[in-house]
């Protein structure tokens, strides 16, 4: 582990200035991912600016009937918040499906969005990885990629995004609010994570030095029946093989669906959503919606099962949501 300086920021402006001043400075939230990566040498910041004590904690009402979750709110607090559970149950379920109780008590909502992939080649500094060292190559595509992406990957990188929470946020059209020294800004989650392309090291569209301050969940996305389902190799404490956050309005056919574990970012299933809007919500339509989304899939030689799994999962969760809907 490389030696580093540590500063605790007490105001947002301090934090921004401290990170802007030093090359290699990074914000520290709960540290549940960053510190692990520092121990193995994947991350080597010269300075950590601890933002956990900034006044960015807590969940508050938004004017549009939605909620605003402060960036330093812990994952545990966000998941347990009564209004999160009532209005956005899939978000609460997604957060609780991730990590362990101990980690969720430390991890922050802002940091969760920024967690790095769990690709084994990314995690090992002696392996080729374009995400870690641009231009070094991707060992996973020719090597072991059982858990890698089937949608939207490029020949430069096939790693998946690891967050459960971000999948639910993608389904709810969340908006990320941030601050910079030049003033505040916001990014819809759909634009927050850029496509992999030939820059897998560029994981967010945040301007340099930006600090996430809050995540807004729109009132238009309130969905008391939404659902998060995570498929994984063991019953707990494992990253998603494939996961889904979904909400379905059986009267209008309006659906919001996002998939996890299949791409470099939470994968909003807009093709499936379009098929559902077209007509009666029958079992055939659910299958057609799933097929439409997965028609774009390009599995690697070792992960074709994820296409089957994602298709089955979309159908299973839509069926469940339709069955649960009030008559």
């Amino acid at each position: 582990m490389k030696e580093f300086a540590y500063r605790r920021a007490t105001e947002v402006r301090d934090a921004l200035t401290l990170v802007a001043a030093g090359d290699g400075a990074r914000y520290l939230g709960g540290g549940t991912n960053l510190v692990d990566l520092m121990k193995t040498g994947v991350e080597a910041p010269a300075r950590l600016v601890d933002v956990r004590f900034l006044p960015l904690d807590g969940v508050r009402e938004a004017a549009d009937g939605g909620l605003v979750i402060g960036a330093t709110t812990t994952n545990s607090d966000a998941a347990a918040h009564p209004e999160v559970r009532r209005r956005y149950p899939a978000l609460s379920e997604a957060i609780l499906a991730g990590a362990s109780g101990q980690l969720r008590n430390m991890a922050t909502v802002g940091g969760n969005l920024l967690q790095r992939t769990r690709c084994g080649y990314f995690a090992d500094p002696s392996q080729a990885c374009n995400k870690r060292v641009p231009g070094s190559g991707c060992a996973a595509i020719a090597g072991e990629h059982h858990n890698h992406a089937v949608l939207g990957w490029s020949r430069h990188c096939a790693a998946t995004h690891a967050s459960d929470m971000a999948v639910a946020m993608a389904a709810f059209d969340a908006v990320v609010h941030y601050e910079t020294l030049d003033g505040p800004g916001e990014l819809p989650l759909a634009e927050f994570y850029p496509p992999v392309g030939d820059t897998p090291d560029r994981e967010t569209a945040l301007p340099p030095g930006a600090l996430i301050t809050a995540i807004a969940l729109p009132g238009s996305a309130v969905s008391p029946r939404s659902r998060y389902r995570k498929v994984r190799e063991r019953a707990s404490y494992a990253f998603a093989t494939v996961s889904i956050a979904a909400d379905l309005d059986v009267r209008t056919g309006s659906a919001r669906i996002a998939l996890g574990g299949v791409a470099s970012r939470p994968w909003r299933a807009r093709r499936a959503e379009a098929v559902l809007r077209e007509g009666p919500l029958t079992a055939d339509r659910f299958r057609a919606a799933a097929d439409a989304e997965l028609s774009a899939a390009e599995p690697l030689p070792g992960n074709g099962y994820k296409v089957t799994l994602a298709r089955n999962l979309i159908v299973a969760v839509l069926t469940e949501l339709a069955d649960r809907a009030p008559a």
């Binding site: 020719a142 063991r234 799994l309 089955n312």
Partner: protein, 691 residues
């Protein structure tokens, strides 16, 4: 015979309170003055030669005392080895050859652990890479007969004729992956010299044996070496040998003339310490229409390293579990550029029984017979291959009691017949055995003038409760209360003793303690004088009649399968065990339950994933290498049938490994019962189940 007062009584571990309050000390915990720390650098290529190690690049880093590599390391004796002969795995830092990825190439020694790690992470090592071969398959061109060190080939009866005469034949192939012991406590050793005497505190399964290996390796007299253990946080086989941490710590102490501690990181535990080899196991079973076996053919292949001979004795249960007029077994070894495999949790029997007991279930299916009934119909009267009598064989009791408790009688044996919502539900069972016995050990007992007895044996406690068990055994052997027993273990100086391994630790140590106690009790006693008796059981063991000696178990399980996602979850797990006299029902139950959970992990989770392009292990941590989490562990029940091993003091059999064996096949058979699809390849991953 001795009266049994303390044996058979459920008692918590003697050290339990110390462990849960953090006072118990493990190998890396001993405070020492002038202690330096070694950090290991491992190869990142699977085969080749070291081109350069740029020691100058780290020499000036804070706290660095120096770097040991093949150019300055103490020379080691190539004859040093373990049970299977000279072990090239021990020959660390002796030349520039890289035989597998993860091989130690240097040890950086510094004043603090952090300084050593920082320099080790920085040390530039370059390689001349050579093509590697890590692709295991049974028909690999380098495949050769396994060395017949044990579990040698057998061929009784006319196999082909019996198969031809069989009404039903199963002819299938089963696969198990590389698996890792991955004990909670990483391997750690601290070595230092006291004059001409090498001292070490090491995390291992047998300080005496490891001291002998260490002495040979460094060309020292045995009396020049003392190895002690503290509490040990699990071994599962990977601490049965002289580990890289001890070899490297000894080198550090030798070169820098001060105490050096080497603790492997978690990834190094995966990369450098013993793993179970991958296996590929073709099996043919032939039976009459009524289910009587005519033929059993089991010819497994396993991978190994050219550095060290090893046997994954998969056919050990095959030779003893069922009667058949024709039985053929043969082990094949495939040398590859991999970490040398070694014994791990139920070595041989765990992967072997997965194949055999899966095949038995397939046979029952094809016969239209209850799998339980199939086992009962093939119960042998004598050893099917050896012809020797069984010392005590209570497999049928395990099968019948287990079936009754589980509610097996009402099972509909047809697959894919039970649904609960979107889940398929299935049940499965397996039977198994694990060989038991004892190895020579020396124990001393001193009658103290205060009325207590000091019992000394070079045993070690891996966390299984050996201290507690040996105290109870000594108490009954001396016909006293446990409060009067003072036990000393964990030190090579205490005399030759078998290790905590092979399910033979407790039996071997108990034998020596019991005999020493008997001799002490036979002596005329003057309570005002200390009296010591020392016993070596070598001759007693030689006199033990040759018999088929095994522990037995029957495992029953219920699983749910979501065919849309491939998720398999174990709902119920029941094991009935015949392990002789149970010394401590509380810790024995913990041990077999732990074994069953290990078997569950083997069935569903554990897999060392190797990138064939680089030949490297790519999931060398607990995020990538899954073992069962709490939520995976179901309603689990384990119990013991009455059993007693004749000829062995107190009727003890080993219970260390049988818990692991059998569970994987029971779960695979239950997954078939749920889905109708056979799982012949472990682990039973989502992608192998999803429909």
């Amino acid at each position: 015979m001795n009266a049994v007062n303390s044996i058979g009584v459920a008692r918590p571990r003697i050290e339990g309170q110390a462990k849960v309050t953090g006072r118990a000390r493990y190998a890396a915990d001993k405070p020492m003055r002038d202690l330096a720390f070694g950090s290991v650098v491992v190869s990142t290529v699977a085969r080749g030669r070291i081109r350069d190690i740029d020691v100058a690049a780290v020499k000036g880093m804070p706290g660095v005392l120096g770097v040991i590599d093949y150019r300055n390391a103490p020379r080691l004796n190539p004859e040093a080895g373990h049970f299977f002969g000279p072990d090239g795995g021990l020959q660390l830092l002796q030349d520039d050859v890289i035989p597998f990825a993860g091989r130690a190439v240097a040890l950086v020694v510094a004043e603090t652990l952090e300084q050593a790690k920082a320099a080790a992470d920085t040390l530039p090592v370059t390689y001349d890479q050579e093509p590697h071969d890590t692709g295991f398959t049974a028909d690999h061109p380098n495949a050769r007969p396994a060395a017949p060190l044990f579990d040698g080939p057998e061929d009784i009866g006319d196999l082909e004729a019996e198969l031809a005469a069989s009404a039903v034949v199963v002819d299938e192939r089963y696969h198990t992956p590389e698996e890792h012991c991955s004990a909670m406590e990483p391997h750690s050793a601290t070595a230092w010299w006291e004059g001409e005497r090498l001292q070490a505190i090491d995390s291992n399964q047998g300080p005496f044996f490891i001291a002998t290996v260490l002495a040979t390796l460094f060309s020292l007299g045995f009396e020049q070496v003392r190895v002690r253990t503290e509490h040990v946080g699990g071994g599962f086989g990977s601490k049965g040998m002289c580990g890289p941490q001890l070899v490297l710590a000894t080198m550090g102490a030798t070169l820098f003339r001060r105490p050096v501690r080497v603790t492997l990181t978690r990834d190094q535990v995966f990369l450098m310490t013993a793993m179970r080899p991958a296996t590929e196991q073709p099996i043919r079973l032939g039976a009459d229409a009524d289910g009587r076996l005519r033929a059993i053919q089991h010819e497994p292949a396993f991978e190994l390293s050219p550095l060290a001979e090893y046997i994954e004795g998969c056919t050990e249960p095959t030779k003893t579990l069922y009667a058949a007029p024709a039985i053929r077994t043969r082990n094949t070894a495939v040398p590859l550029d991999i970490l040398p495999p070694y014994s791990m949790r139920g070595p041989g029997a765990a992967p072997g029984s997965f194949a055999l007991e899966s095949a038995m279930d397939e046979l029952a299916e094809r016969l239209g017979l209850d799998p339980l009934e199939l086992r009962l119909r093939n119960e042998p009267a004598v050893g099917p291959v050896s012809g020797l009598p069984f010392s005590s064989r209570n497999l049928v009791a395990c099968l019948r009691t287990g079936a009754e408790r589980f509610g097996w009688a009402t099972r509909d044996h047809r697959p894919r017949t039970r649904r609960e919502g979107h889940l398929l539900v299935g049940t499965g069972m397996a039977a198994t055995s694990f060989s038991v016995g004892a190895f020579p050990s020396v124990a001393s007992i001193t009658a103290e003038v205060d009325g207590t007895f000091t019992v000394i044996i070079a045993a070690t406690d891996l966390g299984t409760g050996a201290r507690t068990a040996l105290t109870a055994i000594a108490a009954d052997a001396l016909a006293i209360d446990t409060e009067r027993v003072r036990l000393r273990i964990s030190d090579s100086e205490l005399g030759p003793a078998w290790s905590a391994g092979g399910s033979r630790g407790t039996t071997s140590w108990a034998w020596a303690i019991t005999e020493a106690a008997a001799q002490l009790r036979d002596q005329p006693r003057d309570p005002s004088r200390r009296v010591t008796v020392t016993v070596d059981t070598t001759q007693l063991l030689n006199d033990l009649p040759s018999m088929e000696r095994h522990a037995y178990s029957a495992v029953f399980t219920e699983v749910t399968v979501d065919p849309a996602t491939g998720e398999v979850r174990v709902r119920r797990l029941l094991g009935m065990f015949a392990v002789g006299q149970v010394v401590n029902p509380l810790t024995a139950r913990s041990q077999v339950i732990g074994g069953m959970i290990g078997g569950l992990s083997m069935a569903l989770h554990e897999e060392g994933v190797r990138d064939q392009v680089s030949g490297r292990h790519v999931n060398a941590d607990f995020a990538g290498y899954h073992i069962a989490a709490h939520a995976d562990v179901p309603d689990i029940e384990a119990d013991f049938v009455p059993d007693y091993e004749p000829g062995i003091p107190f009727g003890i059999k080993g219970a260390g490994e049988i818990g692991n064996v059998g569970t994987a096949a029971a779960i695979a058979n239950a997954v078939w019962h749920a889905t109708g699809k056979r799982q012949r390849r472990l682990p039973i991953r989502l992608d192998r189940v999803v429909e």
